[in-house]
Amino acid sequence: MGLTGLFLITFLIVHAGVNACIFVSEDTFNTAAHFMSHNWVLRIMEIGLFAGLLLHIIQGLLLWKQNRAARPVGYTLTDNNRNSKWYSRSMGLLGTLLLFFLVIHISKFFVSTKIALYGGGDADHNLYLEMKEEFAKWWIVVIYLCGVTSLFWHLLHGFGSAFQSLGINHKRYTPIIKTAGTVYTVIICILFALMPLAFFLNWID
């Protein structure tokens, strides 16, 4: 779980980086998007990404199943907020929300890129323009902001938790990892949230 999580965390940096190109210019973004979908190294890594995501989901489902079986009769009264953070206990729920979001997200942009690539003999595909049209709809923007919110809480716990699972807990480094996790989560989520907002509110041309 920790390993696949860190792998996906690394991917998000690349994803957010490419996204941020919209703030430079339409051409920069389209060039970056074209590179991401055409470079053969990246296309092989893309398979790895889906495998990693799938593994993360399978691991999550196994954990959920085993953990449910570990307590068939629950407590009548629990005061969990006194001993732990709600989002650390809700990773499965947040992950499921993220998965729903990903289905919508992939069917919107990933599939259209692939259709342009394989369907029309590597047809020209202006992803920037496509996003501009999609993010003009308020409900799409709302779905995206909900997705980013789930991602925020999921990462806030997941980042530090991954290190603990891999056996890294150190008096000096753990506080650094915790801070790095918070900074990472905030930056990544702001970048992701800015994209639909910038198009919707016409902050960029």
Binding site: L63, N67, S88, Q164, N169
Partner: protein
């Protein structure tokens, strides 16, 4: 602190045995002293039940001074009740006010089946310890206690891990019913010391295998166990367990 008396309503889990289903019963206790311990309050209630010709409530207790790990009540939604770094027997009635309703449940875990009322079977912990919580020593004369030099920090960490009394509050509290804090304390106290080195790899592998066999859940690092542990066992031990397990699995030839 001022002494006061209180009347309380108790909502206590009653269950005949592990095969029957249980339910809550309500009881009233009067004139409970704020200086009483929680278990003494239960003694008062049980005396009352015996006088009335009813079945007293079964609960685990032994030393009543916070060191044996026998007491195991889930009080008002928290293992060992509202005080931190504290066992049920050391919880005192000044934690409550006159007129309070207190909900008392047993530990709830597949690996800890309820035997009767508030008593659960924690022999799963014994079997985990049997699987690897030992060291090999030569027989004969006792070796000088200070024959092997041990770094102060390691001795302190091992001692802190050895403070675990095996009460099961970590399992009871964990949203996943995981026993990782307990197992990590038992692995750590030996892995940190040179005496524990000969069985270092087999110990962690066997104890983790036994833990999985008993039906405990998996750790998702919520750290609720550390917050509720009466002995304040640190989750740094869980990272050490993960480390020991990872390194043993990767290098073991078995």
């Amino acid at each position: 602190m001022e002494h006061y008396k209180m009347n309380l309503t108790l909502k206590v889990w009653r269950q005949k045995n592990s095969k029957t289903e249980g339910s809550f019963d309500n009881y009233s206790v009067k004139d409970i002293s704020s200086e009483m311990s929680f278990l003494e309050m239960f003694d008062v209630l049980n005396e009352q039940l015996i006088t009335e010709g009813k079945d007293p409530i079964a609960f685990d207790h032994d030393c009543r001074e916070g060191i044996c790990g026998a007491c195991s009540m889930h009080i008002n939604g928290e293992a060992h009740g509202p005080w931190s770094n504290n066992t049920t027997c050391q919880l005192h009635m000044r934690a409550f006010k006159d007129g309070d309703t207190i909900v008392v449940e047993p530990w709830r875990s597949t690996a800890f089946p309820v035997l009767k009322d508030l008593i659960v079977d924690r022999s799963a912990f014994d079997r985990i310890i049997q699987a690897g919580g030992y060291i090999s020593v030569n027989t004969g004369n006792a070796v000088d206690a200070n024959a092997i030099p041990i770094e102060k920090k390691k001795a302190d960490d091992a001692f802190a891990a050895a403070a675990c009394i095996g009460c099961g509050a970590c399992v009871a509290t964990c949203v996943n019913g995981s026993a990782m804090l307990f197992v990590s304390a038992k692995v750590s106290q030996l892995a940190l010391l040179p005496q524990g080195d000969p069985e270092r790899k087999t110990r962690v592998m066997n104890m983790v295998a036994q833990m999985d066999k008993e039906g405990f859940g998996n750790c998702t690092n919520t750290y609720a166990c550390e917050a509720e542990c009466p002995k304040g066992i640190s989750v740094a031990n869980i990272a050490r367990l993960n480390r020991e397990f990872l390194s043993a699995s990767l290098t073991s030839e078995e």
